[in-house]
Amino acid sequence: MRDAATERVEEVFYAALEVKASEERVAFLDHACTGDARLRSAVEAMLASQADVEKFFRQGSPALASAREISQAIAGTPGLRAGVDSRLSAEEEIGKHIGPYKLLQKIGEGGCGSVYMAEQEMPVRRRVALKVIKLGMDTKSVIARFEAERQALALMDHPNIARVLDAGATVTGRPFFVMELVHGVKITTYCDENCLDARQRLDLFIQVCHAIQHAHQKGVIHRDIKPSNILVTMHDGVPVPKVIDFGIAKAIEGKLTDQTLFTACDQFVGTPAYMSPEQAERSGLDADTRSDIYSLGVLLYELLTGKTPFDQQELLQSGLDEMRRTLREREPHRPSTKLDEFRVEELTQTAIHRHVEPRRLKLLLSGDLDWIVMKALEKDRNRRYQTAIGLGVDVQRYLNNDPVVARPPSRLYRFQKLVRRNKGVFVAVGAVSAALIAGLGASSWLFVQEREARREQARLREEAEHARSSETQLRQEAEARAKIAQAAVFLSRGKPEEADQLVEKIQIPVTEPSLEAAGVFRNLGEWNVAQGRWKPAADRLLKLIQANQVDKSDMTDVATRDLIRVGPALVAAGDTTHYRQFVQETTARFAGTRNPVAAEHVIKASVICPLDQARIQALEPLAGVMEQSIAGATSTSSEYTYMIAWRALALSLFEYRRGDFTNAVAWGQRSLGYSDQRPTCVAMSHLVLAMAFCQLHQPAAARSELAQGRELVEAKYPAGLKKIPDLGGEESGFWHDWVMARLLLREATAGIESAAGGHEP
């Protein structure tokens, strides 16, 4: 990259070239590079290579090419001719036909194409907009990509979306698109010309959000949202925004042949000022619905302040790498602070266009509107609004004076971002101290680092390859997100049935953990439990586990709390395959926890059914954590005794599964010995004791324990009860603990009956 040091090197180098005599040159360098050895060696390296440079460029220069070579070269470059033959005027004259479309009038000229008003004659006579892409692109693949998207595009039917009707190739092979004709002006122009105030602008914006949401639900990502793609038309005196160009960015994306480098058109499709960081990245493959959310954020920014977060010209002039860096790393000013950059007359003009006094404008933007915009513009798409409707609803909340979802970032969050932005530094500092402490040599550390880097690169390549082939998956994920968001709305309106029908259609695993998604699945899992629908309940709760992994390194009881919901539900649903898988994953993930409550959750969730030796071994360390915590618990301990009782019960059942029945009895009796236990804990303790006594051939004790356990369980859930209308609570016992007790009752009864059958025929 260019910097002051490079400039200085070149300055000295160029000056030194002028000094021909060698002693004089040395003297000059002595003087110019005093005290700067690096400067000197850089300049000397450049000077030393001059003879070679001159030779290289003299010999290899095309300036010496012969006429024969040049004409051969020209004669053999047919691709160029076909590609850049862009004498548009010759071909697309008004009145001529392109396919079934008759060109009537040129209505626009963009960076990459021209737009005409045209008349379609067959099968219906109607006016359409026809956009001809003028670059030398690979027409076949543009049209192939359009065809792939066509079905999805056809599904879109929304008053704020201009439909894309057709695509094809002109006689000379340039791709064209046919769209519903919209008589309108750019949304920003419309707002400024009519001096719309903030509320009116936000109203229009919300409509745009609805349109984009509709498209996302149909699986279509726009990829090029910007003011010139949102036209405002008047409908009975009411302004209606219409989003145009759906599917076009996708069709012509990325795959520009190198012929387009030739043209003045931007090097890649899309408009940098509106482009999300992930779209600007080199691969450019990774756009999803949240890239559109980012662009919506830029649009909102511009509607409010009149400017985009980053200046389009500056971005283009800074060069590609710098532009990517800006989009990826630089925090834009908040809308309200952006105004501070404005000149006085600029501010006045901006304010007049928004029908507000200049000094009120800043006040208007600061606070909620700032945070809404900034949330949409998050670099990390997981932190943005996850859906267009989410953004629209938040704007509506602002208009209704309700509290908005977007909030200023907390200090912890900002620190995390700092770490993320300077990952190299933090990792290096951390690693260096680790190396010092461990006494590792720096070289071995570097070796490991390098190997890691290579692995990382391989992984990234793989990911990129994967992304290329995963358009369908992206679409499914987007659908899943949208369904979850809608389900959350249904739930908040007290309509679990509708919500459940929505999420039922989600066929893929939840790949993007979020608290919102976890909330939805927990809620719906329990709703299904209450209906006695165990299979769907198990499905929702499994998705809850997937949605819960927001922080995969979290090993506290916060992360394990939902496990004890899932285990019993899976077993009750009779889904042993998924239960076994669940136990496997759970034990693997939480094997290292030192948190006794987490350990108790993991063990309890894992030992509902008999389990294999490997699982038992995996759980042993967790049992150790619990034993230690019980041993360390004294009267001065802040932990409640009922919590210790739970741990003793978990150990009792664990010992039983391990086959150590004596220990199982010891722990079970200990559990019953604590005061203040939950009824569920008491019931389960009796049942484990019953099973253990049975194994120890003490049938009388076993039957007595079984009877006590049964009485408690059936008092809560009578035998044969299918639905579980009462989901219980902390004091009366949670449904999942009662369900687990019920499962143990079933197992204990069967065991004792068969033992009785064996001994007393």
């Binding site: 160029y14 290899g60 095309p62 010496l64 000229e109 060069g319």
Partner: protein, 185 residues
């Protein structure tokens, strides 16, 4: 010549689109010129691309406007056309030589001293693509001089900068490109 007159007028109004449309015209003209030369000149006769470009220019604008601004657009288009033509040509030849669809030359596969002018051209072009990212103005100068065969004076007039800074940029760019090609930077 009506096309070119219209384009020239558009250029005069500062419409950048016009320079894009100029490119195929330049290309056609270069092609015609080269063919004509081939027909009447013996093999081995060397022709500076500068001469080709100049001649193309004179023909194109013989009844048009001749301000420097237009000339600048023209030279930029012409040099870019030359670059394109020569790079395509060199690629095709090196592909034949190495067999199969090799797109980029690998520096390890050839000794720089033994490299043909085609191979060098491709190496320079690759390095130039990097320069275009890091220092676009300097890259423009390289295109005009290296591919367009313009003199320092012409480049200075085309880009509206001093001759001395053209020279400085050219010298620095050459050194940078050389080091890049040799893999030393």
């Amino acid at each position: 010549m009506s096309d070119i007159t219209l384009i020239m007028q558009a250029l005069g109004r500062g419409e950048s689109r016009a320079s894009e449309e100029l490119l195929p015209l330049v290309y056609d003209e270069l092609r015609r010129l080269a063919e004509a030369r081939m027909a009447r000149e013996s093999a081995g006769h060397t022709l500076q691309p500068t001469a080709l470009v100049h001649e193309a220019w004179l023909r194109l604008v013989s009844n048009g406007d001749r301000t420097w601004k237009n000339r600048a657009y023209f030279f930029a288009s012409a040099a870019e056309a030359m670059r394109r033509i020569l790079v395509e040509h060199a690629r095709r030849k090196s592909r034949l030589k190495y067999g199969g669809g090799q797109e980029r030359l690998n520096i390890e596969d050839l000794e720089l001293a033994d490299a043909t002018s085609d191979e060098k051209l491709l190496l320079v072009n690759d390095a130039l693509e990097q320069l275009e990212v890091e220092h676009p103005e300097r890259a423009r100068i390289v295109v005009l001089k290296y591919f367009g065969g313009l003199t320092n004076k012409e480049v200075a007039e085309t880009l509206g900068i001093g001759e001395r800074s053209v020279d400085r940029h050219w010298v620095c760019a050459k050194t940078w490109l050389f080091h890049k090609v040799c893999g030393q930077m």
